[in-house]
Symmetry: D2
Amino acid sequence: MSNPAPADDRRYVLSLGTPDRTGIVARISTFLAEVGGSIVEAAYHADPDSGWFFTRQAVRASSVSLSLGELRERFAEVAAELGPETEWTLADSGERKRVVLLVSKEAHCLHDLLGRAAGGELPAEICAVIGNHPDLADVTRAHGIDFHYVSFPKDPAERGPAFEQVRKLVDAHDPHAVVLARFMQVLPEELCAHWAGRAINIHHSFLPSFVGARPYHQAFARGVKLIGATCHYVTAELDAGPIIEQDVIRVDHSYEVRDMVRQGRDIEKLVLSRGLRWHLEDRILVHGRKTVVFS
Amino acid sequence: MSNPAPADDRRYVLSLGTPDRTGIVARISTFLAEVGGSIVEAAYHADPDSGWFFTRQAVRASSVSLSLGELRERFAEVAAELGPETEWTLADSGERKRVVLLVSKEAHCLHDLLGRAAGGELPAEICAVIGNHPDLADVTRAHGIDFHYVSFPKDPAERGPAFEQVRKLVDAHDPHAVVLARFMQVLPEELCAHWAGRAINIHHSFLPSFVGARPYHQAFARGVKLIGATCHYVTAELDAGPIIEQDVIRVDHSYEVRDMVRQGRDIEKLVLSRGLRWHLEDRILVHGRKTVVFS
Amino acid sequence: MSNPAPADDRRYVLSLGTPDRTGIVARISTFLAEVGGSIVEAAYHADPDSGWFFTRQAVRASSVSLSLGELRERFAEVAAELGPETEWTLADSGERKRVVLLVSKEAHCLHDLLGRAAGGELPAEICAVIGNHPDLADVTRAHGIDFHYVSFPKDPAERGPAFEQVRKLVDAHDPHAVVLARFMQVLPEELCAHWAGRAINIHHSFLPSFVGARPYHQAFARGVKLIGATCHYVTAELDAGPIIEQDVIRVDHSYEVRDMVRQGRDIEKLVLSRGLRWHLEDRILVHGRKTVVFS
Amino acid sequence: MSNPAPADDRRYVLSLGTPDRTGIVARISTFLAEVGGSIVEAAYHADPDSGWFFTRQAVRASSVSLSLGELRERFAEVAAELGPETEWTLADSGERKRVVLLVSKEAHCLHDLLGRAAGGELPAEICAVIGNHPDLADVTRAHGIDFHYVSFPKDPAERGPAFEQVRKLVDAHDPHAVVLARFMQVLPEELCAHWAGRAINIHHSFLPSFVGARPYHQAFARGVKLIGATCHYVTAELDAGPIIEQDVIRVDHSYEVRDMVRQGRDIEKLVLSRGLRWHLEDRILVHGRKTVVFS
């Protein structure tokens, strides 16, 4: 667990997954020691179910004599030794990540993310906000951020061009994260594939309960005693992508649906902002349908 | 929220549900004032969804000049005024409630309830424990409580006589609560009906997620970040009865199924013991598929 | 628990505290029934420690034939019957409450409250924001709200005129709540008295732990495993006023002070916004050093 | 986070703290790789405040060709390289740890720990229970465990011989943990020193709030909205030892002290059992007044 790095605390962050075998930690840590890397965070996970090994290591950038490019080149050799299935990234916490938000009419997640970005809590620049309604244009622009309104036809079968327009607006920023901040539109399969591993959604229920539309109405009808929210990567199967973070809040018989909606907002904001920060800090490794989160 | 009444703090507890209209509170509270009732707890709920009104009121028994029988007789007239749909009970907290537990091999809920009963936390006597395995006989008998072992055939189609034997053993105590403390057997429909409103189950997931068998395995496979437990009244539809209480606990990628099983036990114990206590203190009103819990 | 009333759901809210005796509920509810009041929320608390009784009742305004003024006049007679110590208010949820915020440099509570007010979550108008630093002027004005900068001298002994200026700016709005949203200045005793029952502070620790300055540094030094926040009414004794709400969040050995500061913000926002909403909805009754919160 | 190891899953667990410098992870992991160690858990913490580095690594015992004795001998050389301040242990999860419990009259923590030990949740044998009251003898003996009653004089100044007797009864088992399971006696300074790092207490408040006697009465008087419990190592300064674990539970104005006592028990049991398990699994490293918990 750690804060976005201040300027004097730049880090190189290595994330890696590979089939488990003896000596991986030794190989990686020896490499990091050889380049002078002073480790400030290290986390490991050996998954007995899949037989894979995952790690995230952060070294103080100033302790390493190589450039990021050189470091990547050198580490590629280590990764090659670990085998062809090895997946890894080497990120520079000094690089400001780019984020694009997709919104609809609900303002609370947008307000929350804009406030956190302004306050320096998110290690990212919000490049643009795209809405299928114009309602949230003003608050976005008050933060000096571009807002694009894309009109969506009522008939789902005719939404292809609108989604195409969204794709272009998003891709213009080549973002590290595309956040569906209560966007309320189901992404077409090709966009799910195109933004795989970068598109993050907030669903307003404790998945897998209450998939799909109007989850608070479903929760009310079932009489549950807690409501929740789930932040997950978007995949083609609705609300079934790898879960990043979840949380719940207590309700009781006195809560009408509108009370659940209000209470739920607080959880949605928290869960989405946590999940997005972990994504931007390279703390999440996806394997199959599940996530390893080195929070 | 209140403790089991000590001997000098006996209460009469009125629970009532009726279609909502103006003047119900006035009618009931005027009645209670007329009989001298000193109210120590009062809770109300007007449900806009169903149009019903629910209340629970506890008065100090020593403040009322009438016997419980007389009080019931007198209140029946008030209830009649409120209309034929009115449902009500008038309980005496000085009466020791009777509880029968159904168990299998898992010991944690049994240990927990026996410990709470011994410590005076549950306003009830545990009359008997019935197991479809003999494993928990010793710990039960160490508390001076009868244990009955009922052998269940492997073939579900042949379990009728075993359930009949359970029914007889349970009904011999005319219990206020029949607790399925990780019993692991699906009650036949006629037993669900026979013990309606008295049979309480603990399901080891956050319902409606992971209905049915092996919920921790289902949770592991889905990669959820919280696991839960649900205490509910038993109805003929599996794991779909009115929910009394739920809670969750955090897990992460490092939790194997056996870790979830261990962590989950703590939540199962808490949720079941809370739900059972509320039931025994007449804090739960069931309406349709939902509960009003005046905790 | 209930939402701010929509226009078609206006309520009259009666809050009352009085020494306990038999018949209070009957007297009040009979009165409400006589004026046709349809009760949508009712809560009671008989406090054995102080011997006082507290209640909050909300009736649908449209069900009552009298004006608010007439209702108050009529109820004053009932209150008089209940004795001279009786304290009560009768509020109209249709009246938009006025709030003034005092801030310093920290933006998160301000962002959060502005967002909630804009989203209709707070049943109030934020009339003005006053800062002892100019930093938060822009975000305030972007919401169309007046910002006043009042310069505070370094020497605490010389701050009298600055506080006097703050007092005038606040009192110009005759606000229902004066919120110290991370104001970081200790109010002088006469202001505490002047705004008694209306001044609400958020303290960034789980009181009574870590009173005074730099509570996260104190928490870090002590090695606690949870950090918290406390919303309380301001009184002359520092951080010792009646507690309205508290909550905590988990930390561990990996949290530096700056991580606690960031995590703590999420709890501060939640706790302050809950406490303020309850205050504005007349859900809080103060008795001595403690609160009764009918949430 | 991991379960007590089953017989076929024995582990060697290395815990180490040392002043931080580059290459420590490489040195340790290279050593483990050289002896064939298959790492199943690894955790690291570099503490910028103290400048120390902490790690815990668990390797599958069956993957290592050396005996535990040989492994310790070989690792001593590595530790020597890391410098004279290095503190380390190498434990065998196959060794059953020994625990002695000190109790008074309150039964809930004892019930809970006996139940967990019986259910295989605690990787330990409870060797003996010592009480300064005889009340809990029967439940202890029903589990086949020795109970020793030691009478404590009323005058604290005369309790020396009683503590001496407790010391002898405890030390006869050379236990890995001496648990004050609501013992309600302040250990004399020499016993704190004698059992340093092994004596674990459960305090029934969220420390540092409400140090000393009757914390629930203190919490009630202050009107807090959450009550808590704290598991910590015992040191000479009352309730001020390194904190292992804490948790809280919500209360409100309706809770009398006796309700807090009952609710608090659930938290005390959870917090103590978690802390004790982590201690027995060698997951806790103490540095100065704080703990690193690799849970």
